[in-house]
């Protein structure tokens, strides 16, 4: 089975920049992920949501890329949140403590709902 390189598409919903991810988040994903994040940040949203619904593989290099995005988001006072992770990757976000620093939601609706409430209170 060939590798499924990452595809990332940016949408804007309820004032949140949503990065829809499809494929694998590994060393090959760096460029696509960085470009999508840059596009997402361009609209100066308070929240950037990573939607992992189409992602079936994240390795340790992919975790490092997500740590890098989180560092960028924190440096520019933006909130980075995640949704649609499989149970296995929720576990990995827990043991790496990523979930201590970024909200992890079961689906896009709940993530957007929380973002709207939080941004509204900001």
């Amino acid at each position: 089975m060939p590798a499924k390189y990452l595809e990332a598409e940016v949408r804007r919903e309820a004032g949140v920049a949503v990065i829809e991810l499809r494929g694998e988040i590994d060393g090959f994903a760096e460029e696509a992920l960085a470009a999508a994040y840059e596009e997402a940040e361009a609209g100066n949203p308070e929240t950037v949501l990573l939607d992992f619904e189409g992602v079936d593989y994240i390795n340790s290099t992919g975790i490092a890329l997500i740590v890098g995005l989180l560092a960028k988001a924190r440096a520019s006072k933006k909130r980075l949140v995640a949704c649609n992770l499989s149970d296995h990757y929720v576990e990995i976000f827990n043991i790496t403590r990523l979930s201590d620093f970024m909200g992890v939601y079961p689906n896009r609706e709940s993530a957007l709902e929380e973002a709207v409430v939080t941004d509204g209170n900001a």
Binding site: G27, A64, D87, E91
Partner: protein
């Protein structure tokens, strides 16, 4: 297979599968799929199977990158063994770098976010957290990482264990 500083096989372990693959980026997922197929009959829960596949992929990546320098002509050798009590996956490289030593400390995410540590460095940490035991053995020519999952579910065996 010739032993080179590997741990004792144990009398009742049987070989389920033995294969090798070139050290090429992406082959770690092929190894994980081969291992999944080899242990399918052992009854691992879905969650423990996912943990095993992650550990196998990470260990294979380390072997290909640090042990074999991603030289396609240098293979990674994989053995899958099982006894009544546990299954073992042994991933062997040609030992092109110092023996990987697991850091006893948990990677410090706060330090990584502050730029005080590299964002990388999660591989061995993930492996250690995904399997019940990890052993690293080797000599000047080879390194072997052995991943063990207990078949009678132990402390990490519960569906809600972290």
């Amino acid at each position: 297979m010739t032993a080179y500083g590997q741990p004792d096989l144990g009398g009742d372990r049987r070989v389920l599968r033995e294969f090798s693959l070139p050290s090429e980026p992406g082959n770690e997922r092929r190894v994980a799929r081969e291992v999944e197929a080899a242990v399918e009959s052992l009854g691992l829960s879905g969650q423990r199977m996912e943990r095993l596949k992650t550990a196998v992929a990470e260990a294979t990546m380390n072997a290909m990158e640090h042990g074999n320098g991603y030289s396609p002509e240098v293979p990674v050798v994989v053995e899958v063994l099982a006894s009544g009590q546990d299954l073992s996956v042994r991933i062997t490289d040609r030992g092109g770098s110092p023996m990987p030593v697991p850091d006893p400390e948990v990677p410090d995410l706060s330090a990584k976010l502050e730029g005080l540590q590299t964002p990388r460095g999660w591989g061995l940490f993930l492996i250690r957290n995904m399997v019940d035991e990890m052993n690293i053995t080797g000599d000047r020519e080879h390194h072997t990482v052995e991943l063990i999952m207990h078949l009678e579910e132990g402390p990490k065996g519960g569906e809600d264990a972290g």
